[in-house]
């Protein structure tokens, strides 16, 4: 499996459930397209649920960074939910862990949006 993206709306927060592999090629571009579409529609509060992400490479990490920059520059907020150990380790190694607002609980993540 490459990547599966399901989007749901909770109040004014758009939650994207990501499952599978975010790697160079289909996985990274699918995530990029989905997030660009959301930003294009004016959605400013985006929560990426990465709990079912089995693999992410440097391209996938780059997509997370690009998405964060795009959403933030547009006046919005992008937060991460349910990082697997693998994703968390990679974000720590690359010093990106503190850049993102990371949550373990969907309820608290939703509440944290202002």
């Amino acid at each position: 499996m490459s990547v599966k993206l399901n989007t749901r709306q909770i109040g004014d927060v758009s939650v994207v459930d990501v499952a599978g592999r975010i790697t160079l090629g289909e996985g990274s571009s699918a995530l990029r397209d989905t997030l660009r579409e959301m930003v294009g529609k004016g959605q400013k509060k985006i929560l990426l649920n990465l709990g079912e992400v089995s693999y992410i490479d440097s391209s996938g990490i780059g997509e997370l960074v690009s998405a964060f920059t795009t959403v933030t520059n547009g006046g919005g907020q992008l937060k991460l939910l349910n990082l697997t150990k693998r994703v968390k380790d990679l974000l720590q190694i690359t010093k990106l862990y503190t850049v993102f607002d990371v949550h373990d609980s969907e309820v608290s993540a939703i509440r944290s949006f202002v």
Binding site: T23, L24, G25, D57, S58, S59, I61, G62, E63, V65, S66, F68, T69, R86, L90, I93, T94, K95, L96, V99
Partner: protein, 146 residues
């Protein structure tokens, strides 16, 4: 590294097309050899990712997906060292001055983390220019804890 190594010596070599499919194939091949060599899950993750990132560099940045160019992959384990060599036929790149992706000015860049991750995950990393053209990277993971 697991407590016991299951196989003492193995070498495989492949010539792969310059496609993203080859990236998956190379990772699978390296992981199968590493698994037989007895690496644990944590090391397998590191090896797999280092091979993937190096293959992406060879296929995408080295050979630029050119159907006429191949990537040579060799994977060897000898009981002490697990060695992966990946060589492309590209124009090469300036690898002497790779910026640190963790520095403040590079932190939010969308790319430039591949080689950094390879270096982080492997015990040795070497890169050399090939004549008449191409780049070869050598990745080594120690099979005996030092």
């Amino acid at each position: 590294m697991g407590e016991e190594s299951r196989q003492t010596s193995e070498t495989v070599e492949r010539f792969l097309d310059s496609t993203l499919g080859s990236v998956d194939s190379a990772e699978e091949l390296a992981l199968s050899v590493a698994q037989r060599a007895g690496f644990d899950e944590g090391d397998l993750m590191k090896i797999g990712m280092a091979v993937r990132e190096s293959m992406v560099n060879a296929v995408a940045h080295g050979n630029r997906y050119n159907a006429n160019k191949k990537v040579r992959l060799s994977v060897a384990s000898d009981g002490e060292r697990f060695t992966v060599r990946i060589a492309d036929e590209g124009d090469g790149f300036d690898f002497c001055d790779l910026p640190d992706p963790r520095s403040q000015e590079n932190l939010m860049r969308a790319s430039g983390r591949g080689i950094f991750l390879v270096r982080s995950f492997m015990d040795e990393f070497q890169i050399r220019r090939l004549e008449p053209g191409g780049t070869e990277v050598t990745l080594v993971k120690y099979m005996v804890s030092k």
